[in-house]
């Protein structure tokens, strides 16, 4: 595992993408080829099934270290990383560098489903023979939690540098389902590892629009459409292959049986980019409905009826087996419209409608209706643009509505993980309900490291009670939270659930007497469709 350890340390040591690319490219040139394939798999989120659960790891490690489990948990709360905790608290002394990544991962895969005694013996043996750094990486291979700050794009660029294969070609070859255990490095980079029939194209992504769209030039050069709050997906209908991929490159065909009939009606060699939404008849339903479908491999009939899924088609990437991505959007959209209009009624596929206006101010007005339509805002796409790979500034913009916001007080704090280990970063917030405080949201992003450090010091001085890693603190610190949506939720004490809550700012100017009430939030629930977000001056 030496090459991988070197790579890991190099990536860990820098935040500069240039240096990361160099380190990766170097690795892709020199590491054993079988190991390279596993690295590509891990960096693109294709982790092998876990042979050992984290509960088992905890128990075995505590036992091997001769400490009670509670003390292991205390240590884990401080280190913020399971692999690291184990690597550091087992006795030091061994210096082994471990076997190759290929060997280790194959052994781990072979262990899957074996009796506990066998798996335990293997893991304990490895721990006892490895030095702390190798032990850490070994644990990471088990837990699969590699966060090395390497995006898929960065990895592809490095691989392109190492192999001489063009980046866009490589990006496509790495897509879809392929098994690192049975794919060689040559197969993967020269032909593409997965089943060509079902292999998706890399998704085009948009950048946030934070300027006045007037700067984009004439409105006629742009396609505006609703930014739906669903699951971005790519639907593939090729001879012998019918597949639905999520943006995370997960194959989700079986989770949405509603789309199966499309296999019979879409012309062979069709690839559509669209948004999967739960459909309410005329408009999408709030995301919460779709959420019930996520994570389910099979869908009960009741759920199918309550939250039927539908694809709102944005773009046509392939038609009659021809890759259309280099064509201008205007052409792709025209073909998409012809294709969809030719389909019979009753299929779970519709065109995502254009949002049309004469000028930018007309579009701006339309954008304000987004929430009423269950959309997050507008998408702006340049009509002359190709279908890019990944995020390329300039042609695709997401022009989202300003979020809702609410002032709330922190009541619990918990330490974060990874880079934020040992800093209190995960907070629970409450609003007022009469004389009581009612917890309603958790958030952990939006503040600077300096603010987190300051709050951490405060939490340590003001802890009222500890529940494992969670600290109860006096309701003193006030934050402005932003969120994208609000839903009734009988599962939560407050009766509501927020979508994407995060901290907008720390309101050091406000005291807990000045926070919002649960009634303010409930009022948002009851807002008639089309209502504007509350209190624009607050946003």
């Amino acid at each position: 595992m030496k090459d991988f350890a070197t790579l890991f340390n190099a990536l860990d040591a820098t935040t500069k993408t240039g240096e990361k690319t160099l380190a990766l490219a170097d690795y892709f040139r020199t590491a054993p080829k079988a190991d390279r394939v596993w690295t590509i798999a891990l960096l693109s989120g294709r982790r092998p099934k876990r042979a050992v659960t984290s509960t088992e790891l905890r128990l075995w490690a505590a036992e091997a270290a001769g400490i009670p489990l509670w003390l292991f948990e205390e240590s884990y709360a401080v280190a913020g990383d399971l692999a690291e905790t184990i690597a550091r608290l087992l006795p030091f002394g061994a210096t082994g560098a471990g076997q190759s990544m290929d060997t280790t991962l194959r052994q781990l895969i072979a262990l899957t489903g074996r009796p506990e005694t066998e798996r335990r013996a293997y893991v304990l043996d490895a721990w006892a023979s490895l030095g702390p750094d190798a032990r850490f990486l070994f644990n990471k291979l088990i837990t699969g939690g590699f966060r090395m700050g390497v995006s898929q794009g960065l990895m592809t660029r490095a691989l392109a540098q190492a192999t001489g294969v063009e980046e866009t070609t490589l990006a496509h070859r790495l897509m879809g389902e392929w098994d690192p255990a049975t794919t060689s490095f040559e197969q993967l980079t020269q032909e593409g590892g997965g089943d060509v029939g079902a292999r998706p194209y890399p998704f085009a992504l948009a950048s946030p629009m934070d300027e006045d769209p007037q700067t984009l030039g004439p409105v006629q050069e742009w396609l505006a459409e609703w930014k739906w709050d669903g699951i971005r997906g790519q639907l593939i209908a090729r001879p012998g292959a019918f597949a639905l991929w999520s943006r995370g490159e997960e194959l989700i065909t079986d989770r949405f049986p509603e789309f199966a009939p499309l296999a019979d009606f879409l012309p062979p060699g069709t690839v559509i980019d669209g948004e999967i939404v739960a459909w309410g008849g005329a408009d999408p339903l709030p995301f919460a409905h779709l959420q019930k479908r996520i994570g389910r491999k099979t869908v009960p009939k009741k759920l199918l009826a309550e939250a039927p899924a539908l694809i709102l088609a944005y773009d046509l990437l392939e038609s009659d087996g021809t890759d259309l991505r280099a064509q201008p959007l205007s052409e792709r959209r025209a073909r998409l419209e012809r294709l969809v209009n030719a389909l019979p009624d009753g299929l779970a596929l519709r065109l995502s409608p254009r949002a049309e206006a004469m000028d930018w101010s007309g579009l701006a007005a339309l954008r304000q209706e987004a929430r009423a339509r269950q959309a997050e805002g507008l998408m702006l796409k340049r009509l002359s643009s190709p279908y890019h790979i990944g995020r390329r500034r300039g042609d695709w913009w997401k022009w989202k509505l300003d979020p809702y916001s609410v002032d709330a007080v922190m009541i619990y704090a918990q330490a974060g993980h990874g880079r934020r280990a040992n800093l209190f970063t995960d907070f629970t917030f409450a609003v007022r309900d009469g004389n009581d405080l009612v917890p309603f949201a958790k958030a952990y992003s939006g503040l600077t490291d300096a603010e987190f450090a300051q709050i951490t010091a405060w939490v340590q001085k003001n802890t009222l009670e500890r529940f494992g890693p969670v600290r109860r603190v006096p309701p003193t610190l006030v934050f402005e939270l932003a969120f994208e949506g609000i839903q009734e939720s009988p599962r939560h004490k407050s009766g509501i659930a927020l979508r994407f809550p995060r901290m907008l700012r720390w309101r050091q100017d406000k005291s807990a007497d000045e926070i919002d009430t649960i009634d303010t939030l409930r009022a948002l629930l009851r807002q008639p469709p089309g209502a504007l977000p509350p209190d624009p001056q607050d946003i």
Binding site: E84, L89, F92, A421, T456
Partner: protein, 343 residues
């Protein structure tokens, strides 16, 4: 029933029968000081007592104070108790303070480490009934590799920088850690020191501690005047305009906190060397055992889990909340400046 030998007040650890405080954080008439780090040796007390070896640094830091020296192991009567100072192995001159009243012995550890660093007077365990121990690194996560192994890692990092043509800047606390590093590293090239480090280094060297020659960084000194040099500076100098004079640099931090990857990354440090002047988990446990004490007070660190651990080991254990190092216990971020030496 008489009072305890040592009691815990909001000014610090107090000995009623001796009329003195140990490392108090608010002004008192009579202070016994374990060592010169600024969270232990504070200004404003009436009189000070510390080891002869600790006096020069404390004087340098606190200016004109009424301070007296005592030899390691020398027994001195103060009020109704006998007091003696014993090596704590933390930094040169550092001490544990032993207080005996009619056969009952209490020991205040101050800060300590059990590994002999070759420079500080080596930790000498004291048998006692009650032991007040620091536990800065009181979790099993914290284990130190032996000093020679860390020295080899730093040396190879230094050598690599020489090959790459960059200047390595190693951040370390100015009192103790810096001198320990200077004396433990092989002579691969000149060692340059930041002013804050050089001051303390010079004082300790003049006292006779065997610290190799170093050169203070002045306006004339650059990477060109001292090719292949290693720079030792306080943590605050990393990434500062001061460091810019060396051209391309590689930076690292030498601290026990570098054991945690999250902290290393948060500081944007590619490289950290895990080396501490505090006892690690095995060290704390071994030291406590060697005292033979049945009653342990944990202070200054991960006190809550440490106390629970000690209780499960059969000790009578308590927590003393002190003001040492502020929050250094659980917030390594501020703690990194463990030694707030004057710049």
């Amino acid at each position: 029933m008489s009072t305890a030998v040592l009691t815990f007040t909001d000014r610090g650890i107090y000995c009623p029968d001796g009329g003195f405080y140990i490392d108090p954080w608010r002004p008192v008439a009579r202070a016994l000081i374990t060592h010169g780090h600024s969270d232990h040796a504070r200004p404003g007390h009436g009189t000070y007592l510390a080891t002869h070896q600790a006096l020069p640094v404390i004087r340098h830091r606190l200016g004109t104070i009424d301070i007296h020296g005592i030899a390691y192991g020398e027994a001195r009567r103060i009020g109704d108790v006998m007091v003696s100072f014993h090596p704590a192995g933390h930094v040169p001159g550092s001490a544990q303070i032993r207080v005996e009243r009619r056969g009952e012995v209490w020991v205040v550890s101050g800060d300590y480490k059990v590994e002999d660093d070759g420079l500080s007077e080596a930790f000498a365990p004291q048998r006692c009934h009650s032991f007040i121990t620091e536990c800065t690194f009181g979790l099993p996560l914290f284990q130190w590799e032996p000093q020679p192994s860390i020295a080899a890692q730093i040396a190879s990092w230094w050598a690599e920088a020489q090959t790459q043509g960059c200047t390595p800047i190693l951040a370390a606390y100015g009192l103790g850690k810096a001198q320990r590093l200077i004396s433990m590293l092989p002579p691969l090239g000149p060692i340059l020191t930041h002013g804050a480090v050089e001051e303390t280094t010079r004082i300790l060297r003049d006292q006779g501690y065997p610290i190799p020659t170093t050169t203070r960084v002045t306006a004339q000194i650059t990477a060109k005047t001292h090719p292949g040099a290693l720079v030792i500076a306080p943590p605050s100098a990393l990434g500062s305009p001061w460091a810019a004079r060396f051209g391309p640099t590689v930076e690292a931090f030498a601290s026990g906190w570098m054991a945690l990857r999250g902290i290393r990354r948060r500081r944007g440090l590619g490289q950290g060397f895990t080396i501490s002047d505090h006892a690690d988990w095995p060290g704390l446990n071994a030291a406590i055992k060697e005292t033979g004490a049945t009653r342990i007070f944990a202070t200054h660190g991960y006190t809550t889990p440490f106390r629970r651990w000690l209780e499960e080991q059969g000790y009578e254990a308590g927590i003393v909340s002190t003001d040492y190092g502020g929050d250094e216990v659980e917030t390594p971020t501020p703690v990194l400046e463990e030694d707030h030496s004057s710049p």
